[in-house]
């Protein structure tokens, strides 16, 4: 039982009460009045000096949102959210549009230091590691700093807050914003479209391999604020970009709403790798507080042979409602989804993916590991579908779940829909799927069955973790390096 004990110990060590990013920063901030109405939408738009088309777009989304019912199909339970009891805009007060880090409030810089996010380029350069990461730091509703912008610009890569992109590259924003997740998509995405504050914008031009990892670090700080970030990444023909996202929030007794939208567009032969380590405050061991993480993430493999890969390590949030998806539109395009979701305390996770095969010879792969402890409920919900014209589509799905303790639950809800005979779909959800052959091989070499199991399963989880870029893999491994022995379904 050694391996299992280790697992239990590891999961307990990410006990919700031991949340180490739970501090809050005492910083003066400017907020919009509480509540939501057309004036608030206009206020946010005006704050960001947006062009008329965007203001109109937001207002249209807001009006649409008013007519939409809240979704209730996910296996999560929470008291009704009072959308009028939230602040929809909060920004740390500082000199308008800091030109350099020297103008940024030192309190803010200290916050990111405490979070371990490097915002000073020289510090990064002086470091031992040779790999560099450009960071966009979003604090409540605004982006406070973006690093390495000049160097990226040399390669032609645009990496900036989306509010800045609206000013500097309006044609790109107008062309792609809402083209993957339409403003009318779903309750939370529509709300986001109305009130989105900041987020990152990335454009990688034709044939460019982005010279470094791009990263955004989201931090909710203010009380009673919702964070509605919007990220848009466009990889033009033949380009490549790897993007990382991290998130934390202070420990508070109240629940806070985080309703983000992420849109990815991959044109011909382009590749986008999107990784998330989600560590929002999960609430305390009694289930008080924590972030409601209601997120719409979708990638559109618009071009031929394009490739989008989602990797997520989910350990935070009181409630997660999140299905990073791929629309495999271009012939020969590929989608991947690798996920490890760990839930403890009273956390509820309803997460998974959608792989919609529209083009010919499209391929997708889903690997999902759910771990449930304490009184948590962990659901995998995924859809794989093949359109009539998706000749030669392929999918492989594997979902494993592990339960630790009597009071938690693990659920699997896959929807597998095929309208094409040449589409080949395989779905498995099993108890630690270890082949007899592998076990036999390892035991032949002197390992006990237990050790052999641990070895094989650990190796398998590592495979998923290895989908993460180096910098994140280390962080994720710290969060979880878990053996999945004894898992179910």
């Amino acid at each position: 039982m050694a391996a299992r004990q280790e697992t239990v110990a590891r999961v307990e060590s990410i006990d919700v009460d031991a949340y180490k990013y739970g501090f809050s920063t005492d910083i003066e901030s400017e907020k919009a009045p509480k509540g939501l109405n057309e004036d608030i939408v206009r206020f946010i738009s005006a704050k960001k000096s947006e062009p008329q088309w965007l203001t109109d777009w937001r207002l249209e989304a807001y009006r649409r949102w008013l007519t939409m019912p809240e979704p209730n199909w996910a296996r999560v339970h929470y008291p009704r959210i009072d959308f009028q009891d939230l602040y929809y805009y909060a920004a740390p007060k500082s000199t308008p549009g800091p030109k350099s880090l020297d103008e940024v409030d030192p309190e803010l810089l200290r916050t990111y230091e405490k979070l371990g996010i490097p915002l000073r380029e020289q510090e990064i350069l002086a470091g031992v590691e040779t790999r560099r990461v450009a960071v966009d730091a979003v604090f409540d509703s605004v982006s406070v700093a973006t690093t390495f912008k000049e160097e990226l610009a040399k390669a032609g890569v645009i990496f900036c807050p989306i509010s800045e992109a609206v000013q500097t590259h309006p044609e790109l924003v107008q062309k792609y914003l809402g083209s993957v997740v339409p403003a009318t998509d779903n309750f939370y995405a529509t709300l986001n479209s109305a009130v989105f504050s900041d987020g990152s914008f990335v454009y990688v031009p034709k044939g460019v391999r982005c010279p470094m990892e791009l990263s955004t670090y989201f931090r909710i700080n203010e009380q009673k604020t919702g964070q509605f970030e919007r990220t848009l990444i466009i990889a033009d023909e033949g380009s490549y970009v790897s993007y990382l996202e991290g998130c934390t929030a202070p420990r508070r007794d109240e629940n806070q709403l985080h309703a983000a939208v992420v849109e990815l567009v991959a044109l011909d032969d382009a590749e986008i790798k999107y990784s998330t380590v989600q560590n929002w405050y999960p609430g305390d061991s009694e289930g008080r507080g924590g972030i409601y993480n209601f997120v719409t993430k979708r990638g559109d493999c618009r071009g031929r042979n394009s490739h989008i890969s989602w990797t997520q390590v989910e350990t935070g949030s009181a409630i997660t409602w999140k299905y990073p998806s791929c629309i495999l539109r271009g012939d020969g395009s590929q989608g991947e989804f690798y996920s490890i979701a760990v839930s403890n305390g009273y956390q509820q996770v309803d997460s998974g993916t959608k792989m919609l095969h529209l083009g010919k010879n499209t391929k997708s792969r889903i690997i999902s590991k759910g771990i449930s402890a304490g009184r948590a409920q962990n659901t995998y919900r995924g859809q794989v579908s093949a359109h009539r014209k998706a000749d030669g589509a392929r999918n492989f799905t594997q979902c494993d779940s592990l339960l630790i303790g009597h009071d938690c639950g693990a659920h699997t809800v896959p929807y597998i829909e095929s309208k094409n005979p040449s589409a080949q779909f395989e779905h498995e959800a099993t108890t630690s799927k270890i082949s007899e052959d592998q076990l036999f091989y390892a035991m032949q070499r002197g390992l006990t069955a237990e050790e052999a199991t641990a070895l094989i399963v650990n190796g398998f989880v590592r495979d998923v973790l290895q989908q993460l870029p180096m910098e994140f893999a280390v962080e994720a491994q710290k969060l979880i390096s878990i053996s999945l022995e004894g898992s179910v379904g």
């Binding site: 199909w73 009539r388 779940s401 339960l403 630790i404 303790g405 009597h406 009071d407 938690c408 639950g409 693990a410 659920h411 699997t412 809800v413 896959p414 929807y415 597998i416 829909e417 095929s418 309208k419 094409n420 005979p421 040449s422 589409a423 080949q424 779909f425 395989e426 779905h427 498995e428 959800a429 099993t430 108890t431 799927k433 179910v488 379904g489």
Partner: protein, 430 residues
């Protein structure tokens, strides 16, 4: 609470008023209340996502009123047959006189009129299945059917066949319900035959309620066939298993129109075991939905499901299988497998295997695949001189038979294999 709005639901409401006068008013009222809460299920109801009954049943056909005399019925099995024709149990067409000792039969209508407590409580489905509007509708509107009681310890050698047919020349609705109760340690083989004898688009809502006392054993073969383009059949099975009880079941769906077989099984005693296998032979515009909920309520239960969907033309196959493991149902062992073959460009398969697990020391898994015939295997056979269609037939047959292998009754196995061969020979002939 009553929020039925559509015309269809108003028609059903008038059916209910009519049936309420015919016995078991309390049971019907509770069921009608449950149905009223949901109404006819549309795609927005999660468990009916792939079968839009609200659209299909937008015009409920009039309730069947059978006054048909004796008529010859097709007979496929050497069985003790109990016939329900056009919504009415027909003792005159049934093998009542040949029933062996230990088997007691009466019509549902009589049973409802007598209102015996144990029968009534067995008919009321309070737990599993209570969430299904169409099963509730069946309980609210049940016209007739049969009640079979098998004495404790009785081992019935010959199969008991519950045959339900529609024969009307015009569209009609039937709501039938059979109740089979097996006493402790009793054993029986049951055949459930659901067929149509006419070309009228029938709307048949049938339910079989099975109660297995401790250590009882049932082998059940269900055969859904017949139907025309506009016909609708929902065949529900509600099974309760006490400790050590075992059910072993296979269902074959073929024909035309819309067929939905829904299975709600509750393993209510320790070490109960359930096997639900099945195959669908889809042709034309058949819409065949198998929806299954296996509820492990007690420890050490075992469940196995193995389904094969073979879909040609524009047929649509649906498999939704949910395994629930309740808190405390430790040592549960569940495995579910659903495989589908798409034989035409227009066929569709929707698979939704689900797990809902609240106990940690369990072994549960599922697998689902969908694709077409393996090219290499086809090549192997055609290279040996088999015409392509025959080669395909051979592979399809093997694919279908995988789900039948576990059946113990050789005669029934032969019957089912024969159905597959007939279906395939029609395919070769085209």
């Amino acid at each position: 609470m009553i929020k039925l709005a559509s015309e269809a639901e108003a028609t059903l409401s008038s059916f209910y008023e009519e049936m309420r006068a015919k016995g078991a008013p309390r049971l019907r009222a509770a069921a009608w209340a449950a149905f009223s809460e949901f109404g006819l299920p549309s795609r927005r109801v999660e468990s009916w996502h792939y079968t839009d009954l609200k659209t299909a049943m937008s015009r409920p056909a009039p309730l069947a009123t059978s006054s048909r005399g004796a008529m010859p019925l097709p007979r496929a099995h050497d069985s003790l047959r109990l016939v329900t024709l056009d919504g009415v149990f027909r003792a005159d067409l049934s093998d009542i006189a040949r029933l062996p000792e230990g088997v007691a039969v009466q019509s549902l209508r009589d049973a409802l009129a007598q209102g015996e407590l144990h029968v009534m409580s067995a008919l009321a489905s309070a737990d599993i299945g209570a969430q299904d509007p169409i099963l509730a509708l069946n309980a609210a509107l049940m016209q007739d059917g049969v009640v079979v009681q098998i004495a404790p310890g009785a081992k019935i050698a010959r199969a008991i066949e519950l045959a339900t047919f529609s024969s009307a020349e015009a569209a009609q609705s039937t709501y039938t319900r059979a109740l089979v109760m097996l006493g402790e340690g009793a054993q029986a083989t049951l055949i459930e035959t659901l067929g149509a004898l006419s070309a009228a688009p029938a709307q048949d809502n049938g339910a079989l309620v099975l109660r297995l006392a401790a250590s009882a054993r049932v082998e059940l073969v269900t055969h859904l066939s017949g139907g025309v383009d506009q016909s609708i059949r929902v065949a529900s099975l509600l099974a309760h298993l006490d400790a050590d009880a075992r059910i072993h079941s296979f269902a074959l769906i073929e024909g035309e129109g819309l067929h939905r077989r829904q299975i709600f099984v509750r393993l209510d005693g320790e070490k109960a075991s359930a096997v639900f296998n099945g195959a669908t032979l889809g042709r034309g515009r058949l819409h065949a939905d198998t929806t299954l909920i296996v509820d492990h309520a007690k420890p050490s239960g075992q469940s196995r499901e193995c389904f094969r969907n073979i879909l040609d033309d524009q047929s649509v196959g649906v498999f939704q299988g949910k395994v629930i493991v309740r808190p405390g149902a430790q040592k549960t062992d569940g495995a579910m497998q659903s495989k589908a073959l798409l034989l035409s460009e227009q066929a569709t398969m929707n698979n939704k295997p689900e797990l809902e697990i609240f106990a940690d020391d369990v072994q549960c898994g599922h697998g689902a695949t969908c694709g077409r015939l393996d090219k290499d295997q086809l090549f192997y056979l055609t290279a040996r001189g088999l015409p392509r269609r025959e080669a395909e037939a051979l592979l399809i047959e093997g694919f279908a038979n995988e789900a039948m292998e576990a059946l113990e009754d050789e005669q029934l196995k032969a019957f089912l294999s024969d159905r597959v061969s007939v279906w395939l020979s029609r395919r070769i002939g085209r």
